[in-house]
Subunit: 257 residues, 2 copies
Amino acid sequence: MLRIACNSTRTRKLANEFEQGRHTSRKNRGRGGDGKMTIHPTTSGEPDTKTRILDVAGPLFARSGFTGTTVREICRAAGVNVASIKYYFGDKESLYLETVRLARALRADRYPFPDWSDDSPAENKLFEFVSALLRRLMAGQAAPWSVQLLMRELMEPSEACRTLVAAHFQPVFESLLNIIDQLTPQPLSRSERLKVGFSIIGQCLHYRFGREVVALLVPEKLKNEFGIEQLASHITQFTLAALRADVDLESLQNNHS
Amino acid sequence: MLRIACNSTRTRKLANEFEQGRHTSRKNRGRGGDGKMTIHPTTSGEPDTKTRILDVAGPLFARSGFTGTTVREICRAAGVNVASIKYYFGDKESLYLETVRLARALRADRYPFPDWSDDSPAENKLFEFVSALLRRLMAGQAAPWSVQLLMRELMEPSEACRTLVAAHFQPVFESLLNIIDQLTPQPLSRSERLKVGFSIIGQCLHYRFGREVVALLVPEKLKNEFGIEQLASHITQFTLAALRADVDLESLQNNHS
DNA sequence: GCGCCGTTAAAACAAGTGTTTAATAGACTG
DNA sequence: CAGTCTATTAAACACTTGTTTTAACGGCGC
């Protein structure tokens, strides 16, 4: 079971660690940022301005996206002046990039995808994978902002952090492919392997991306049969059945033109 | 095979027919719009201003969405003054609504989903369905703007036309459910039926919604194995296999807690 | 002619946007 | 204390957004 509560104190701490080696963005023409890096002038427990901005920008960007979030909104929430963004990050886009990087760092540290020991049967691993993915996708409001932000980037990556996001999701997908390998007695072709992988995460992602359609098409009284556990169970069964019977269908390959 | 070319002359004509019974929006405080409906003052072939706006707003909204499109952009493209939008539609949102309605009318008239005769085997119907859906989803730039716009609304419906869009996609989904019924010897439970339907369209939609991820995860040299025909073939086989073997898996139902 | 009416045009409006300036306060150093 | 550097502020800047005003144009009946 995944913990999805977000400890804000820990977030701030990690944000601080993270900024140490990172905060020289290319457009940083401000007087702050790079330089001799004085250790916090105020020795009180109060987090400094830069940390406060990052702390508050994450959830906002995660909720409303890049263009949907204004710098004034961020600064108001953080209780700082609008000029601080230029001072510490250069411009809005650099702040966004920094936020995505922070999200990735938080996620990698605290929410690694389960790396199951090899003794459990592959069927269980598949269920666990689907279940975990669904949980993250559907958490929505309840999910930590880092998850929301990365999911948003997964849907429509910004040009700037496309590779960053790819690097983040690649190993997840890779572990799914490994599970698939364990489920298929004879190895699939490279492209078949990928397509099966996409069929699985496609079934999962649909409940997020197509959330609105699902809500419209499922009658109210059946909604209680669409819980995460039940969906994960269905997707797992559907996939296992497809993989079991896959061999019989090779003959149908060229049935259609 | 579906025709996806968009005849602009025909579009204009339909737009005119369409406006006849429709163009009294609630916020229409302008002098034009409702009233005695004078038949085109200029008898030349040149389309009037309202039609020109609608004609040009459709593709723009389809490409960039509601907030991504500015009224000035529309008016510049249509060669009309910005005030015309208030005059004919009241405001931007009403124009957008009108555009969605027009898209729906165009789609319903010209691109009905295939309503196969009952003699062809259900397996073929499934392939045709998946193939048609994929084609519409992936057409992207090449698709008529009406399809693009409705697909956009499918992903994130505007509050205003949620029911409109639902009414549009409902019968499509219904026909998929019918195909599923024909493929399963003993009838599925109501929720199972829906879940199988979602598994199918989920696999399809993923190649649109998760387009970016797919592009990142498929190595360049395998890209040619991800054409629409091949994907449709895979999804069809995957689904058929799952449905065939579905019975054996009922026992696994309560395997996980 | 004259006024009427539907239509269009240019300009202004008010409220945003990201960004930048110039000034200020507060430390620390010489 | 003066000087310098960091940090922060209020205000302005330049621009875009949707919307609205005001005036002018052009055909029409009288």
